[in-house]
């Protein structure tokens, strides 16, 4: 189990497995910064297929810069997007 301290720069795994994945496609492959750990929760990917979701997975709040997500972003350079992502989708940069 990997731990990510607040401030850790991460990249979201760029992977496209079949199933109930709670990591939206638009965020995969992008870099952001961990802002906090939200806890540990049963893994929704295995819960969705009738299993127990164990072992539990760490859930992190990750902040992305909008300008990094969308090349044509029209808003302010300050704008951000926060997303809750399970640990097995995060790679330390």
């Amino acid at each position: 189990m990997s731990e990510f301290a607040p401030g850790t720069r991460i990249r979201v795994r760029e992977d496209f497995p079949v199933g109930h994945i709670r990591t939206p496609v638009y965020i995969r492959g992008h870099q952001g910064v961990v802002t906090r750990k939200l806890g540990t929760f049963p893994n929704p990917e295995t819960l969705a297929i009738g299993r127990d979701g164990l072992p539990k997975k760490g859930l992190y709040e990750v902040r992305f810069r909008q300008a990094d997500l969308w090349p044509d972003y029209q808003g302010s350079a300050n704008d951000t997007l926060d997303m809750d992502i399970y640990e097995h989708w995060l790679i330390k940069v």
């Binding site: 709670r22 990591t23 909008q66 972003y73 029209q74 704008d79 926060d82």
Partner: protein
């Protein structure tokens, strides 16, 4: 109840002891035929419900009570929480530290999810979406508005939030950070809007009226009164 100072017959819609006379037979609009065609998943849901009732797993009254309870939670519930946070700094601190725990003081429970309250400040404006489905803080705001569940809002608010906010009538200066929260997991988000200037002396009850559903989703600002 208001004192009755008149003596003519009419329909009050509440209990009283005088005679209604002809009012009871007043014409009503004719009933509309129910032409609703159920979708595949609605039929599946109804079949499941009927089976669960038939097998004695749940009773129709339990289903009715669950719907009644669900419908009893409305944006007015969320407004009470926000107004309390505006008028009680210690409560606000508890709410921001642990939303799920703090709403217990209102007799509310997040069930299997967790409430995260995000505070708007002069520097940061928060807005909530669920791009994967329609996660929404139902236990404090009730059922989501239909636009919240539609693809247009969900797809656009993450990539052009300022344009979407402008369509809701909300213009934010460029130096304010717009922070979109895409609720992808077990957290449910509630925006704590900024208290409008000039409302400082108002009571929590007066403030509740200024706090709309949309201001707690983050697509609008609370009314200044």
């Amino acid at each position: 109840m208001q004192e009755h100072t008149h003596d003519h017959d009419h329909d009050h819609g509440h209990d009283h002891d005088h005679d209604h006379g002809a009012d009871e037979t007043a014409p009503h609009a004719p009933p509309q035929p129910d032409e609703k065609i159920h979708s595949y998943y609605q039929v599946l849901g109804l079949a499941l419900k009927e089976l669960l009732v038939e097998k004695g797993v749940i009773t129709p009254d339990e289903i009715r009570k669950a719907i009644e309870f669900r419908d009893s939670i409305t944006p007015a519930t969320g407004a009470k929480i926000v107004a309390r946070a505006w008028t009680d700094p210690a409560y606000k601190a508890r709410l921001l530290a642990d939303g799920s725990e703090a709403i217990r003081e209102f007799g509310l429970d997040m069930g299997g999810t967790h409430l995260v309250v995000v505070e708007n400040t002069p520097q940061t404006h928060n807005v909530i979406v669920c791009t994967l489905c329609s996660c929404y803080p139902r236990n404090v705001l009730g059922l989501p508005p239909s636009w919240y569940k539609q693809r247009e809002y969900r797809a656009r608010v993450v990539r052009e939030p300022r344009a979407v906010l402008a369509e809701f009538g909300t213009q934010l200066p460029g130096n304010v950070e717009v922070r979109v929260h895409d609720s992808t997991a077990d957290m449910r988000y509630l925006v704590l809007p900024m208290q409008p200037k000039g409302t400082e002396g108002k009571s929590a009850e007066q403030l509740e009226a200024l706090i709309s559903r949309d201001s707690m989703i983050g697509v609008a600002l609370p009314s200044a009164g």
